[in-house]
Symmetry: C3
């Protein structure tokens, strides 16, 4: 009754990865590689390995054959082969096998800039379009490091966003990491912002965590009308997970004017049901399931299915949130296609959806929604 | 090994819809219809539709054939046919196809009263029993709008509840919407209540959101001994979702005297696991999965399965929480039967449950529990 | 493609039950038995039964045949047979059928001590190794009941922990129950602790719920380097569920020194996804899914699958959290093996995992991780 080709057709759909980072331009050591495959910043305890995990198993299953190894190759064998091929060849193979047609790269991650491929280099490795997402906090920190006087900061920040409007595909806020979503929802005045900047110590200028300043950046972001991405939920151990629940954004979302930006909730796990709810009740809210999919590997299909509950189908996007190693770019794409196909096939097999609508929805969440919202 | 008839038998079980609303007595415009199929109060963004969603797909799958259309008919075709048949004929067909034997109608929704079918009209359209659930806040607001002096309010409110005790099947509180479940759990004294009412402005008398007054209403409700329903979790964008987590009710639930009412937690998504937990540990707590089922369509079976984890089988009820259009009444019933059958069949096929017990449990959660608790 | 024996092989794996309690040394009445099969402390409402639930159905399915009854025997028949066999025979049969090789028994539960089998008696009934987990609060309350002066309490408590270091397999904290995880994360000084103990009334010495004292106990526990178990999530109606979310521990977990104990998060439902996240990002964090599995019976496989999302496979342990009746010990083991086999077989059948790795992971989460972390 259902065409045998739904999985096949989804495998061939181009993807827009609307939230992703670049790859390291060098060969990581084995220990570094292991830490690039976890959100932990610390080695695994004795007798265990971060690679003995869903993401490690998915790596051995999906990436090993692309590096000329058998499926499920041992981690040691994988690392050896990776070293032999070299990071550029590995990146070229894995990025090109992902079937991504465009990547929106968040260039604002701290520390790694000098080691990461530039967007132009990434585009060459991956052989696809690349667009830039500008991080609000990084932009502000650059200004503050320049020694700007507090009183000039609000205008200078607005000018800095204006300056990249033409080139950036959107902006990103990490207020979830730096403070939490339990911030005062109102827009701070310029005077409040100036006072808060004035009170920042040198450390506070290097790494903004003052809630008034963070709120100012976010409000300036949504004034641009370009999509504004927000880190939500799952991330490294620096954040307070329960304060990254996107439901906490509701008071702020209710205040946004009609002209404000689309709000893109990133990854969201384990609050992806809350994100789907917000995407239903707030027209400007969109979301994705990145990060959580990579790290849950063979178990990710259930998470993708939960992402298909409440939100209209025009509101869900694809992202990998990959960083550093192209294995994560490949796995994000593979696992997303796989989980999506499993869920949609179930709906079709249960005689609840038509096969034709299933493939149309697949196109939306793989590429169409991102191209519409980012206008790229 | 398992009888082939479990799904069939569940399809034929009568349902008691213990939390539902009436239907509009006019033909909505296409734009209105779309907004009646979402908890959002705003049009979908350009290029998208609220009907391009699980509930929209379920509508086209389950309602279209009842309106003489093919399965999965296009939304435009569906709306056209709906207009041709007219709202009364559509309501008659869909309500009667739902297999509901009794509806407990919450008559307290704001604004729509004059446009909604009366309970008598609904009973005629649906051809089944109708009982009334009286909303505590609406009852109080009616009193306050009459200009009653604050000092007379506590007694007058108690008398108002007494006056409907004989006819009402139960009461409903929307303290989740108006304040949140993080209220002070203790019963406010009459003096505190009078002071709080005295401090209400004209707007506060129209729409009560003072927590002391809301708590007073709730405590008066549970004094009646009749079932008291509480909105929980998922709803429109006016509420703060995280404050509608029913776990926040625990301090209040622990204070309730033995004589207090059964507490009926409504819909609960995405906090239905928390609701199941409360239904296990508090004898007076019951819950349902309404609303979340309609809006998750083909994906709703997983939610229903999660509702069958911790709670004793005497504690789960059926509701649609349908409002305005009879499509929601039909879909609630269809999707509930479907998801219930999938879950129970899995338990039987896995050789964990007997088929005989599966059908007994189905009868409880479809009808028996509601008839026992509401004594109707 | 996959060996037909994965389920069979998991059925035969020895288990370490790293969090469990002893069994009653007498025959409970029928009413008592029913209350031992729920986290509620109150009888079920009229017309319902705590045994009409997933745990009750699992009992009739899995325990009845071990008591020479047919599968799905009626509860009345089960209770009668249980009485005829007597508690010792029932315990011997069910404990030995569980395939547990070692139990780590939490001996600190309040009230039941005199009625529960001693660890030596339990070892004889179960015919397997038994180790003791010492409850921090019980140890402190024993000291306080002895009338110790507040100023001597900190040193005396540390000495009390030292005294059991050689014999105890680990410690347990119930700060979740007594206060919640929203405690001030810093270690209280001895002076602060003395002041807090000094302020305790007689009731506060019997049952510690002062957050400063509870924090002191917890910090002393993690100073020992032995595994420290924390009650998380689901439990009886005395706790405030939302304050037992393990994500709230993040500020405290970030403060722990390198030398601190492994932290064992117990049961975790409905916050098991949060627990899996913590187990990924904090090397010292481990978790299990006990209690929630028993009480969700045939539906528990989904919970086990969710426990296999983010955490590395070296971080998940088995526990039953059984208390009082050996049915819970048996069901914990049966349902764990079953759900684990279902999940792992799905991963293998989907061609995502190798069968060889599946059985290796099964060995880790059934026994290997516990033996490594507890060094037993």
């Amino acid at each position: 009754m259902t065409p045998p080709t739904l999985r096949d057709r989804i495998e061939r759909l181009p993807l827009v990865d609307h939230h992703v980072h670049s790859v390291l331009q060098r060969d990581p050591s084995d220990a570094e590689f292991e830490l690039l495959l976890t959100e932990s910043s610390l080695p695994a305890p004795a007798g265990t390995s971060h690679l003995d995990s869903q993401v490690g198993f998915a790596l051995r299953r999906h990436c090993a054959p692309l590096l000329d190894l058998p499926r499920h190759a041992e981690p040691g064998r994988y690392l050896e082969q990776r070293g032999l091929l070299g990071h550029r060849e590995v990146a070229r193979r894995l990025l090109r096998a992902s079937g991504v047609s465009a990547s929106l790269i968040d260039t604002g991650t701290v520390g790694g800039e000098t080691e990461l491929a530039t967007n132009a280099e990434f585009a060459e490795l991956a052989d696809h379009e690349v667009h830039e997402i500008v991080r609000l906090e990084s932009t502000a920190e650059e200004l503050l490091r320049s020694g700007i006087a507090a009183e000039h900061f609000p205008d200078a920040f607005r000018r800095a966003l204006d300056a990249v409007r033409g080139s950036a595909a959107g902006f990103k806020s990490i207020i979830a990491y730096r403070f939490g979503f339990d911030f005062a929802p109102q827009r701070p005045s310029d005077a409040e912002t100036v006072a808060a900047v004035d009170a920042l110590g040198p450390g506070g200028r290097e790494r903004i965590d003052d809630p008034t300043v963070l709120r100012f950046l976010l409000w300036c972001g949504v004034d641009t009308g370009l999509p504004v991405q927000l880190h939500v939920g799952y991330g490294d151990a620096d954040l307070d997970l329960w304060r990254c629940n996107p439901a906490l954004l509701m008071p702020w979302l209710r205040l946004l004017p009609d002209s404000a930006s689309p709000i893109m909730l990133l990854h969201c796990y384990p609050y992806h049901r809350e994100a789907g709810y917000l995407a239903q009740v707030f027209p400007r809210v969109y979301f994705d399931l990145g990060l959580g999919i990579n790290y849950s590997g063979a178990a990710s299909s259930a998470i993708i299915r939960e992402g298909l509950e409440l939100a209209p189908f025009g509101k869900l996007l694809y992202s990998s949130d990959a960083w550093g190693v192209p294995e994560l770019h490949l796995l994000g794409a593979r696992l997303w296609r796989r989980g999506l196909a499993i869920a949609l096939q179930e709906f079709v097999d249960a005689d609840e959806w038509s096969a034709q609508e299933a493939i149309r929805v697949a196109r939306l969440v793989c590429e169409g929604n991102a191209r519409r919202v980012y206008a790229r």
